[in-house]
């Protein structure tokens, strides 16, 4: 592919993808299932069951009338023992349906492939499947696949970059279900009216590339975009730019650049739903890190507490410093192993003090490594200085809202400064004081 545009900067990370050869194994149904009513970006679901109710696997237990919201299903059959507020993902208090599973795993009768004969019925099916972006962001899929009036994307971008260290769950999807991925892409193309699709995948996954190429051979609408292994290649705006040269402007959506972006596991799940009618109840997560006895890729019933997943991996051999949901660069650290796996969990990582410790900051030496590594062309050191000095009025000129929070700046900083962390504060401040910031600029 001849590129006439300059790719954005990135950084090199050690792969640590030791689990790429680990086939998916199933974690047994745990003693308790905890299903939070917020598992996506958007409005929280309202529980549709109450304490004492019997539930069947695949039954909707939470939903809402809000547009940006996807229903949540029971992943197991059993009895609701409580509906209560719990500290969970993102360290927020969230209404959670707690189920005591029974042994039978009885499915809701009538789960069957949805009838899809139009764009509307397709979007309805997508919503009913409970699908949210499985790559990590968790945006409800039916919203993403239905761009606003007047915006017709011409390209479906499938994100199989998986640029974070450790994580191999999308890679396993490519290795184990390549045909379903391609079929899913074809379904989305068919019902959304998008012309072409491109699968973005990093060049450190040659076997998956070969498999996908083989399966997509007969469909000339689908191409493979092999990417240099570089972080954050899988960040939506970076991925679109690297593959097409299009820029998603600040505050805009991929659809504004003519692109629909879907994670590779999402598109594969969508096809499985269209084929079987089984809603989103299980999720593959990569379990890895220093203290994990038997690292691997585990298929987990959504709502399974992390401790049960670790137990299925032979347990932990030491006291972790951090437990992450997601990768080491953008994952969320958990206060406890009692929180559950949710829809968009793609990895559970255990970090020891050496890997995940909190180094002390020293003074910025203005080496500029953060700026050279920033895919968005920001100068994180400037934003950091403004935040540390509470010089909020300087923020507008540093364009902090363009930060995608990939964390590259903090990663490369020789002074161990908490750069992206301070940019988050800056963004938060800008969101809270939009007018004030503008006035001061002028």
């Amino acid at each position: 592919m001849i590129r006439r545009f300059k790719p954005v900067p990135g950084i090199h990370l050690a792969d640590r993808k030791g689990t790429e050869g680990c086939r998916t194994e199933t974690v047994p149904i745990p003693g308790q299932i905890l299903i939070p009513m917020v598992q996506h970006i958007g409005a929280a679901c309202v529980p549709t069951v109450k304490k004492g109710d019997a539930v069947l696997a695949g039954q909707v237990i939470g939903d809402s009338d809000a547009y940006v919201c996807a229903p949540i299903h029971a992943s197991v059959s059993g009895v609701v023992t409580a509906v209560e507020s719990m500290l969970c993902f993102g360290n927020r208090q969230v209404q959670t349906v707690i189920i005591r599973p029974d042994a039978d795993q009885r499915l809701l009768p009538g789960l069957s492939p949805p009838v899809v004969d139009s764009r509307e019925s397709f979007l309805k099916a997508v919503r009913a499947s409970g699908l949210t972006g499985l790559g990590g962001a968790g945006f409800p899929a039916h919203v993403k696949l239905n761009p606003p009036k007047g915006v017709q994307p011409d390209l479906l971008v499938i994100n199989a970059a998986e640029c974070e260290p450790f994580i191999t769950s999308d890679y396993r999807e490519c290795m184990e279900h390549p045909a379903r991925i391609v079929a899913g892409i074809q379904s989305v193309l068919k019902w959304t009216g998008v012309d072409k699709a491109i699968i973005g995948i990093e060049d450190n996954k040659p076997e998956a590339i070969a498999l996908l190429r083989e399966h997509a051979r007969d469909d000339d609408r689908i191409t493979l975009g092999v990417l240099k292994s570089q972080y954050p290649q899988g960040a939506e705006r970076v991925l679109i730019h690297t593959l097409t040269g299009r820029r998603v402007k600040t505050g805009k959506l991929p659809a504004d650049a003519g692109c629909l972006v879907m994670n590779v596991t999402s598109v594969s799940f969508l096809q499985s739903y269209l084929d079987t009618g089984m809603p989103l109840m299980k999720k593959r997560v990569t379990v890895d890190g220093p203290f994990v006895k038997k690292p691997g890729n585990m298929e987990v019933f959504i709502g399974t507490p992390l401790s049960d997943v670790f137990a299925a991996c032979g347990g932990l051999t030491g006291q972790p410093e951090k437990i992450l949901m997601g990768g080491p660069m953008m994952g969320v650290s958990m206060h406890s192993a009692d929180v559950p796996v949710i829809k968009n969990t793609n990895a559970l990582l255990v970090l020891d003090r050496q890997l995940g410790g909190m180094p002390a900051e020293s003074a910025c030496i203005r080496c500029g490594r953060c700026a050279r590594g920033c895919p968005m062309g920001l100068q994180p050191l400037d934003i950091n200085r403004a935040v540390v000095n509470r010089a909020w009025e300087e923020l507008p000129s540093y364009q902090a809202m363009d930060c995608i929070e990939c964390g590259s700046c903090s990663y490369v900083c020789p002074a161990n400064r908490y750069l992206v962390q301070s940019i988050r504060l800056a963004k938060d401040h800008i969101r809270r004081h939009p007018v004030k910031a503008e006035v001061k600029k002028a």
């Binding site: 410093e321 994952g331 192993a337 003074a363 968005m376 100068q379 964390g407 020789p414």
Partner: protein
């Protein structure tokens, strides 16, 4: 809730780069120039280097302690400043003047303005400038390489002085190797270039500032040459005086040069321009240090003027 783990904002891993490693790389890059100075100017040069490094580190330690701030000698930046100052001094300088120099560099220019990353001009160059003003005689007494630094050493002109006053000019080879008069570290172009290659290979600095700085200077002195247009001797100017040492090791100082690429270009061209002007049109035969110091003072302005447009921002034109 059972066990509690550290909850923090991502990223959760770090590359492991440190300020100490960067400064260590600068020290390594300065080794060839230091070795060359000892080779050409004898053990007195080594003594001067040791005194400057030790006192610079000592001042850093003492001033941080006095200000009740965390100790920073471990980041090696004070050692770099001490070594750079030594390489900017004539071998005959009295040791006490060198110590005044390290005090000026570390305490007055660096620590009083907030320590590493906060100083507004390059500490070693700032100190050198002050020493030139305060101890002009001692700072401009040059001896021939190999002559030692004893009382009977014959003082000679530096190549740039010779060029201006019509003395015997050294050959390009002598200039390249460093067999000429001058301050400790500036004479050997070869040794400085070795250091430059190391800094580039270790990605401590990028090529922009040294190349554009030197390029601008030699183009201008060639163009504005002594006997009409296009009669200057660019190679002679490139190899003599502090141009290479300044362009590679001083103008690239992180604290006092712009961060953005565009800022670096303007900064480097400005340094080159001023150096050429000083060398050709002022009473100073040298001009590198004052050129850099002047551009150092413009760095905050350049930083503000050259904030890059972000990925998603609107580009004008």
């Amino acid at each position: 809730m059972s066990i509690q783990y550290t909850v923090a904002s991502s990223p959760h891993i770090r590359e492991g780069a440190t300020t100490r490693r960067i400064m260590g790389d600068v020290l390594i890059a300065l080794l060839p120039a230091t070795a060359a100075s000892v080779w050409f100017f004898g053990l007195r040069a080594l003594l001067l280097v040791v005194v400057c490094v030790l006192t610079a580190v000592g001042w850093e330690w003492a001033s941080r302690r006095l200000m009740k701030r965390p100790d920073t000698i471990g980041d090696l930046s004070a050692a770099v400043t001490g070594l750079l100052l030594a390489l900017n001094l004539p071998v005959t300088i009295p040791l006490w003047i060198a110590v005044v120099g390290t005090f000026t560099a570390i305490v007055a220019i660096k620590q009083l303005f907030g320590g590493i990353g906060q100083n507004f001009m390059n500490p070693a160059l700032g100190a050198r400038a002050i020493l030139v003003v305060a101890y002009g005689q001692a700072m401009t007494t040059w001896v021939a390489p190999g002559a030692g630094a004893g009382v009977d050493a014959i003082s000679i002109a530096t190549p740039l002085m010779a060029l201006r006053e019509g003395g015997d000019l050294p050959s390009y080879l002598d200039l390249f190797i460093g067999h000429v008069g001058g301050s400790l570290g500036e004479t050997s172009a070869l040794a400085i270039l070795l250091g430059f290659v190391w800094l580039l290979a270790r990605r401590v600095i990028s090529w922009e500032i040294p190349v554009l700085f030197c390029g601008t200077t030699v183009l201008l002195v060639w163009f504005l040459g002594t006997d009409g247009l296009f009669t200057g001797d660019p190679l002679f100017h490139l190899l003599s005086g502090g141009l290479l040492l300044g362009a590679v090791f001083m103008a690239t100082d992180y604290s006092t040069s712009p961060v953005s690429r565009r800022g670096k270009w303007i900064f480097a061209v400005g340094c080159g321009l001023l150096t050429a002007v000083f060398r050709l049109f002022t009473s100073m035969p040298e001009g590198v240090s004052f050129a850099i110091i002047l551009m150092n003072s413009l760095t905050p302005l350049l930083d503000r003027m050259t904030i890059p447009v972000s990925f998603g921002g609107e580009r004008n034109g």
